[in-house]
Amino acid sequence: MSAETKRAEGRQDRNRRKRVRLWILLFAVFLLVVLSGTALYIFAGKRAVIEQYDSVNRPAKIHPDYSDIVIPANIAPMNFKVEEKGLKYFVRIHSQQGEPIEVVSRTGKTEISQSRWRRLCEMNRGRDLYFDIFVKDDGGRWKRFAAITNRIAGEDIDGYLVYRKMHPTHLLYNGDLGVYQRRICNYDESLVLGRRFFKNGCLNCHTFCGNDANTMFLSIRSDRYGASTLLLKDGVVGRIGTKFGYSSWHPSGRLVVYTISRTPLFFHTASNEVRDTVNMDSALVYYVVGSKQVKTSPQIADKSQLETWPRWSPDGRWLYFCSAKMLWSDKNRFPPEQYDKVKYDIVRVSYNLDRDEWGERETVISAEDTGQSSLVPRISPDGRWLIFCMCEHGSFPAWKPDSDFYIVDLEAGRENGKYKYRRLDINSDQSESWCTWSSDSRWIVFSSKRGNPTFTRPYISYVDKNGKVYKPFVLPQKDPLFYDSCLKTYNTFELVTGPVAVTGERLTRVIRGSRQITVDLPITMATPRAGSFYGRQKTSRQAE
């Protein structure tokens, strides 16, 4: 046998051995996968039985607080952590029908299977949902706490929540500020538009027509692309060459009322909330989508008044907004004299869409009666309920720790001629602000700083037909401890029935593009330049 042949045989032999080793390895991996799968199937399906335990006559402490609440059947699994000391935790979630969900853990973190949660909630609409919690103590004995009872509502909440997420900034915007949409039935969050899409600009309010994600606008500011508003309607995205402030779509989708204002920031040396703002001057104007014109009327743009926070009634016949008398004559002094005495009324003006005619102002909630500033009116889509914020003074409730929610029965008001308001039970000792209604008027999502005075979080409450608002719960996250280390603040919530039907890239192309709808404002007013701020700090620093 020649050396060449021997070498060739040797090579073949080595290759054969290699192949055999490879097959053995593949088989071992396959076996491991099959065995793990089988084990998971067997143990996951097995019902844990704890027969001996000591009863504790109180419910276990869980975090977030998901107890005594009403939840929609289409909510994501409400993962939580049992905050009781123990070596092992066992949680059984059950209702009248369907397989109970059982979760065992060593940390108390209860992460619930999405599919099983979904099935259980779907099968038990309108019924109670129980969390049975068992904790094994240091001595090895199980303790069973009194069951936590929640109720699954008959009505679903709208499928998506759109919000802005950012650091609790003071002046600079340099982080990952963006408008996001979160699917309510699971934890999927996607970016609608981020400031990094258009070279570090700023994103402001996003507003939908009703709860329809297909009709939207979104205001942006950018040093490079200027201040403008993106308009999404009928699948087409356009850019309007002016920034919309707080705004509201007319239910017909034919016009948008928005605020133009000058609201510089300033900072407190001694109060708990450092930031503050004063609405120095503002008015309401409206953009007519068809004619691409901006108009206004003396009823919504009175020079002696500060008008802001517009909101259409669902029938489109009334525009509700906040209005306060301007208490200063010197518009250059900042903060102006008596800025902390400004209290807003909620007023309304009738509107005839066909004739484009505005009626006279009517006061709905008077600051003279309340002694407080009434802000951010939000009317339920069925037209019956008006929820608004009240705080001691000013126009920006998110920075007012005393801001609370109040509710008015508009139907009763129309009948009696007097709008009675009542404080909601859902308020906390921190700021509540910015509420959005679901399309069926049964749910609200609102910003709340409960638990901490810095980071706003999304809270959900059920509203029954009588206007009773139930105990709120924080929007569930996959990690139950998510909010404990989340350095982002959530704001400007809008519930919508479907996902925003446009990609961030498409919106960005429109921002970057040269085409835009040019509008002339019917009134002159100093509006903030993109990227600018007003405040004593900068002024005095520059002076030095």
Partner: protein
């Protein structure tokens, strides 16, 4: 060759560890805005792997945390540079069939230049490394079939894009160069060029939903992300070279080989066959050389071979000289000084701050920290004029754009120590937005909120801090303390700061003359506010205010009147011709003697000629207030 590489990387490591000191980059000093944060847990990981390039960012963020420990950070960067060196070597050999020693050292030298400037580009280097690694994989995996190669390229390109963002463009470029210049497969090269942007678009925009910038330019020098950091001039050239040196070198090598082969062939005809064996290319070309050239080359080669030790030394010397030259010309000593002073201040190593600053030229940011160090060592009222001073250094109230972010970074601790808690919070929030969720910022924000009684907010900042690598344990300890005592009323630091907080609520002021009296109105025993107020009066020449506020010494335990105040009072009494109310205190005999001697030299000996008297006064009284008052600057005494 291996020995040269070993020596080079050993020196590379030592230089990064000792010379650059990567701990300074970790701290950032308000100058390095793009240094990444890293948090333990799935949330942070999943957030990063949800976009192209996020994986490289995640890995880089993690490894960069090791900069916290100087030697470990230097080791990480050295390994990264070595891997790039190795990949470059392998690629050049695989493509050209020979070793071109100098090319492989270029990225490491570039990295030295970048680190000498304290420019953080670790993530960029990771992206480049990923591009090179995948090029190696491509070269190893490619077959004779163009169709299979196309599939391999597409898959690898998509993977590289996902892992390394812009690093995939380097991969694509190298593959195209290989196919076009070394394999003469123009069609493959063209297809790759067309395929690359298409894959980027599909993967970036359709699959991951990132913007066009995110899809096409992440980690690349033309990305807007390079421009957003306003504090310092971005390093474009070095990053461009880091990406382009290898493609450029390969093109040049390929063209050079073509030229040599053309020159070496008898009759000048080139025999360019696509199927030639590249590894044997050199030998084949040798056989075809003309006689004259061959003789010449043979002589040179034999001489060179005979002098291999000399060759090694010469090559090594050139390499080290080039590296040292690059380092020498790019080293940013001023940035290093600022970073070092900030680093020492955060560790409260005040004597070291003073030692370092002695004799250094006037820099607002350094002088600001020096004043803090003087206060903490109890020397502000005695020695502040031994260092350069300016009225704006106390609270960094200069509006110079260069200090925009540094000032916020450097003053949050100063405001916090003073008890101006809301302003400290404001500066911290600005820093959070500018520099990201850095541990030191989270730590101070937690403290601010504990002081303000915002336990919930403090918990959130500590919750985030507990996920960091090096501050996690301390944060967890704090969280346990909060759980045990939410009010923090027994915490000494919290109690002290609470006692200093201002009560007079009004809009922020940056006028020192208003801030400090406010603080003293809130707590007259606020020693730092008192010393800073007096320093402000001294710096702005307000002698009457110094005299007016001497009564505040009653609130503290000074042994007599501090020297600088004594000098100011003597000046006041001389200039205003009236006696100051010293609340029963006496000016020391030593100060009176120095005062008399100073004016004897200045007024009598030199007849008030400032220029003529300068040397003598600077030598004897360069650290006195008298000198500052006459000359308008300080720190003259060596």
């Amino acid at each position: 060759m291996a020995l040269r590489g070993t020596l080079f990387f050993f020196l590379f490591y030592v230089y990064l560890w000792v010379g650059v000191d990567l701990r300074l980059m970790y701290q950032g000093g308000g100058m390095i805005e793009n240094f990444p944060c890293f948090f333990r847990g799935w949330g942070f990981f999943l957030e990063h792997v949800s976009y192209p390039g996020g994986f490289a960012e995640y890995i880089s963020s993690f490894l960069s945390q090791l900069f916290y420990v100087g030697w470990a950070g230097a080791a990480v960067v050295t390994v990264q540079a070595w891997l790039i060196f190795f990949c470059v070597d392998w690629i050049v050999k695989a493509m050209t069939g020979r070793r071109v020693g100098w090319v492989r050292f270029i990225p490491a030298i570039l990295m030295l230049i970048l680190y000498s400037q304290y420019a953080y580009q670790f993530t960029t280097a990771t992206a480049v490394l990923a591009g090179l690694v995948f090029t190696c994989v491509y070269l190893k995996a490619r077959t004779a079939s163009e169709a299979v190669n196309l599939v391999i390229f597409s898959v690898l390109f998509a993977v590289t894009d996902y892992i390394a963002g812009g690093g995939c463009l380097l991969f694509a470029l190298l593959c195209v160069i290989y196919e076009v210049f070394f394999r003469y497969r123009w069609r493959s090269g063209l297809l790759y060029l067309l395929l690359a942007p298409a894959i980027l678009y599909i993967e970036g925009i359709w699959v991951f939903g990132v913007g066009i910038d995110g899809a096409f330019s992440r980690f690349l020098p033309f990305s807007w992300r390079m421009f957003i950091y306003e504090g310092r001039k971005p390093v474009f050239l070095e990053v461009y070279v880091l990406y382009l040196f290898l493609p450029a070198a390969l093109v040049v090598l390929s063209l050079w080989e073509l030229l040599v082969r053309r020159l070496c062939r008898p009759g000048g005809e080139a025999d360019i066959s696509p199927e030639r064996d590249l590894s044997e290319g050199g030998e084949k070309a040798e056989g075809k050389m003309s006689g004259k050239l061959l003789r010449c080359r043979s002589r040179m080669v034999s001489w060179y071979r005979g002098a291999s030790v000399l060759k090694w030394f010469a090559g090594t010397l050139v390499l080290l000289a080039v590296s040292a030259g690059g380092v020498f010309y790019s080293f940013n000593g001023e940035t290093r000084s600022l970073l070092l002073v900030d680093y020492l201040a955060r560790r409260q190593e005040w004597p070291e701050v003073l030692e370092f600053a002695r004799g250094r030229p006037h820099r607002f940011l350094i002088n600001h920290t020096v004043n803090r160090a003087l206060y903490h060592t109890g020397r502000l009222a005695y020695d502040m004029f031994a260092y350069p001073q300016h009225p704006n250094t106390l609270l960094l109230t200069s509006s110079a754009p260069a200090y925009k972010f540094c000032a916020q970074w450097m003053t949050f601790d100063t405001y916090l120590e003073l008890g101006y808690v809301n302003v400290a919070e404001h500066e911290l929030v600005q820093c959070l937005e500018t520099f990201g969720e850095r541990p030191v910022v989270l730590d101070r924000l937690a403290l601010v909120n504990m002081v303000k009684g915002n336990t919930g907010t403090a918990r959130i900042y500590l919750g985030a801090l507990s996920k960091t690598l090096f501050d996690g344990a301390r944060a967890k300890g704090r969280l346990e303390e909060i759980a045990a005592e939410p009010g923090f009323s027994s915490d000494e630091q919290v109690r002290r700061l609470r006692s200093l907080m201002v009560e007079n609520d009004r809009g922020f002021e940056s006028a020192v003359a208003n801030i400090l009296p406010d603080l003293l109105a809130a707590n007259r025993k606020n020693r730092m506010a008192f010393e800073y107020l007096m320093a402000h009066y001294l710096l702005t020449g307000q002698l009457d205010k110094v005299a007016e506020n001497i009564y505040r010494l009653d609130d503290f335990d000074y042994a007599g009147i501090p020297r600088l105040y004594e000098e100011a009072i003597l000046l006041y009494e001389t200039v205003k011709k009236k006696e100051a109310d010293l609340h029963g205190r006496q000016i020391s005999g030593d100060t009176r003697f120095r005062f008399g001697d100073f004016f004897r030299i200045y007024a009598r000996k030199y007849r008030s000629n400032k220029k003529a008297a300068f040397n003598e006064l600077a030598g004897g009284y360069g650290d006195s207030y008298l000198f500052y008052y006459i000359y308008g600057f300080s720190g003259a005494k060596r």
